[in-house]
């Protein structure tokens, strides 16, 4: 089992270490100006020194992202179930939702700021909207794509609509919901950055802009690393959740059975 994990981990680990080493070496060999490209060591030192500042900003962003995700996922699920149960409403509303989804967030962000000011509200609305769509749409697809023979079985034994929803459609759509969630997670961090760039007084995006304006390129790199790490961590959590939720699926490869625990 340990062997399996190791076999999956070492190739990216080695390439990562090699990349950092190459970066460090080029910085010292070619004497690259830290204004242009700071070395990994410099960035690390800076991250350590400025930890209280960036961690406060990162926490603010994390709060924003998680609240937006929670709201987006909740409305996504609710809307998907309602549209699924009411085909008429679905055909009436879905063109609007799709059209609305294509309003560029470059326009949406500033508009929300105009309507709701510079506080938390417009950012939360923006994040909720961005997370809502992938969740609602994959969930809706999942609800409609249940095994016909399972549905036939439930109908034959006289299940109510509610039984079919609860015992077939909802559980069957969970894997779809989680893939929607994975997309929403990746959108959420970049949208939060965009929202903080538009106007904020805290958040890691705000921190990055301040450092940019002060030409503190080392700090900018540090902030980028924080943001990427946050993104990856959230995605990792979603992937973990996926494994938890689709536990019933036969593992496709024997090698994956071992590291499921």
């Amino acid at each position: 089992m340990g062997n399996n994990v190791w076999r999956r981990v070492w190739p990216p680990a080695v390439s990562f270490v090699a990349f950092v080493a190459l970066w460090q070496l080029s910085c010292s060999i070619f004497k690259i100006d830290p204004w242009i490209l700071p070395s990994p060591a410099k960035i690390a030192v800076h991250l350590a020194e400025d930890a209280p500042a960036w961690s406060r900003h990162l926490a603010a962003t994390l709060r924003l992202v998680l609240s937006g995700l929670a709201l987006g996922v909740a409305t996504g699920i609710a809307v998907a179930v309602v549209l699924h149960l009411m085909p008429l409403v679905r055909s009436a509303v879905s063109p609007f939702i799709i059209a609305f989804q294509n309003v560029p967030i470059i326009a949406l962000g500033p508009l929300l700021m105009i309507w709701f000011g510079f506080g938390l509200t417009p950012k939360l609305i923006l994040l909720t909207l961005v997370c809502f769509f992938p969740v609602a749409w994959s969930m809706l697809a999942g609800l409609g794509r249940t095994e016909p023979h399972l549905r036939e079985y439930l109908e034959m034994i006289g299940s109510t609509k509610w039984d079919i929803l609860r015992r077939l459609e909802l559980p069957a759509s969970l894997p779809f919901l989680v893939s929607g969630l994975k997309i929403a997670v990746t959108y959420s961090v970049s949208t939060a950055m965009w929202a903080e760039w538009l106007g904020a007084d805290k958040g890691i995006g705000y921190y990055l802009i301040i450092k940019f304006k002060g030409y503190d390129i080392t700090a900018v790199f540090g902030a980028v690393i924080c943001i990427v790490t946050l993104s990856l961590a959230l995605y990792g959590l979603a992937a973990l959740l996926e494994r938890r939720i689709v536990y019933w699926r036969p593992r496709s490869r024997a090698g994956r059975a071992g590291d499921a625990k």
């Binding site: 023979h149 399972l150 036939e152 079985y153 439930l154 109908e155 034959m156 034994i157 006289g158 299940s159 039984d163 015992r167 077939l168 559980p171 069957a172 969970l174 019933w248 699926r249 036969p250």
Partner: protein, 258 residues
């Protein structure tokens, strides 16, 4: 007297703006504790008949009676075992049974107790907590049958439950089902393509024509209960088999008989 009765049932479907008659004036019955089999060519409308009995669809003409009451188009009165085991992959074996019993109105605790009791009786208690995908096809069908058996319904409808199994497992399953059924004596309507299977299991057989299906002949199977495992060696068995083959039109009804 009879648990299930179809009276003068006709049904047609409209496809590509043309009307296809599937069932033509079908009248059949299943008595209390009787094992009745429908045998007929593929596409003759057997599954359609089940959908009518289950109330999932309504006939163009005729009535469905259960326990003497007209229940045409009423759902939730039968238990059902389809060709594919149709177990829910995200539920354990035990929960699959419990869930079906809950749909039939049982309380959770009661359903659980009865599922566990019966899994023990059929010696499958060791897989009660497993997910269906780890079970063999034969085991899945046993669970599926048990799920149908435990539902507190008047009639069990079994639609080619063994068609997807290999010949060896199938024979084994027939014996298993026969023994369980002879203990329980539920009213069963069974569909198969296999003449041997029909003769081995049933009290009565309805032979159907190709679509639109009519009842070509009703055969009372004369072999005693409990059925002997070697019932197929009897001359009467062979004679009946020949009769049914002739009715189904040489050869084409027997293609997947074992």
């Amino acid at each position: 007297m009879s648990k299930l009765e179809l009276r003068n049932i006709s049904k047609s479907y409209v496809r590509d703006k043309k009307t296809f008659s599937v069932l033509d004036d079908i009248t059949i019955s299943v008595g209390e504790g009787e094992f009745v089999t429908l045998i007929g060519p593929s596409g003759s409308g057997k599954s359609t008949m089940f959908r009518l009995i289950g109330g999932v669809e309504t006939p163009d003409r005729g009535q469905v009676l259960i326990g003497g009451r007209d229940v045409t188009g009423v759902r939730g009165l039968i238990s059902y075992m389809p060709q594919q085991a149709s177990l829910f992959p995200w539920m354990t074996v035990r929960d699959n049974i419990v869930s079906a019993l809950e749909i039939a109105g049982a309380a959770r605790g009661e359903a659980r107790a009865s599922a566990e009791d019966w899994l023990r009786r059929i010696e499958l208690d060791s897989v009660a907590g497993e997910y269906p995908h780890v079970l063999s096809g034969g085991m899945q069908q046993r669970i599926s049958f048990l799920r149908a058996l435990l539902m507190p319904r008047d009639v069990m409808c079994l639609d080619e439950p063994f068609a997807a199994l290999d010949a060896l497992t199938r024979t084994e399953m027939q014996r298993w089902l026969l023994k369980l059924w002879e203990d329980q004596r539920r009213s069963v309507l069974f569909v198969t393509h296999s003449i041997e299977e029909a003769l081995t299991l049933s009290d009565r057989i309805y032979v159907l024509s190709p679509a639109p299906a009519r009842v070509l002949r009703e055969i009372t199977v004369p072999f005693e209960r409990p059925r002997r495992a070697d019932v197929w060696t009897l001359p009467a068995f062979t004679a009946l088999k020949r009769d049914i083959l002739a009715l189904l039109g040489e050869g084409d009804g027997d293609s997947d008989a074992i």
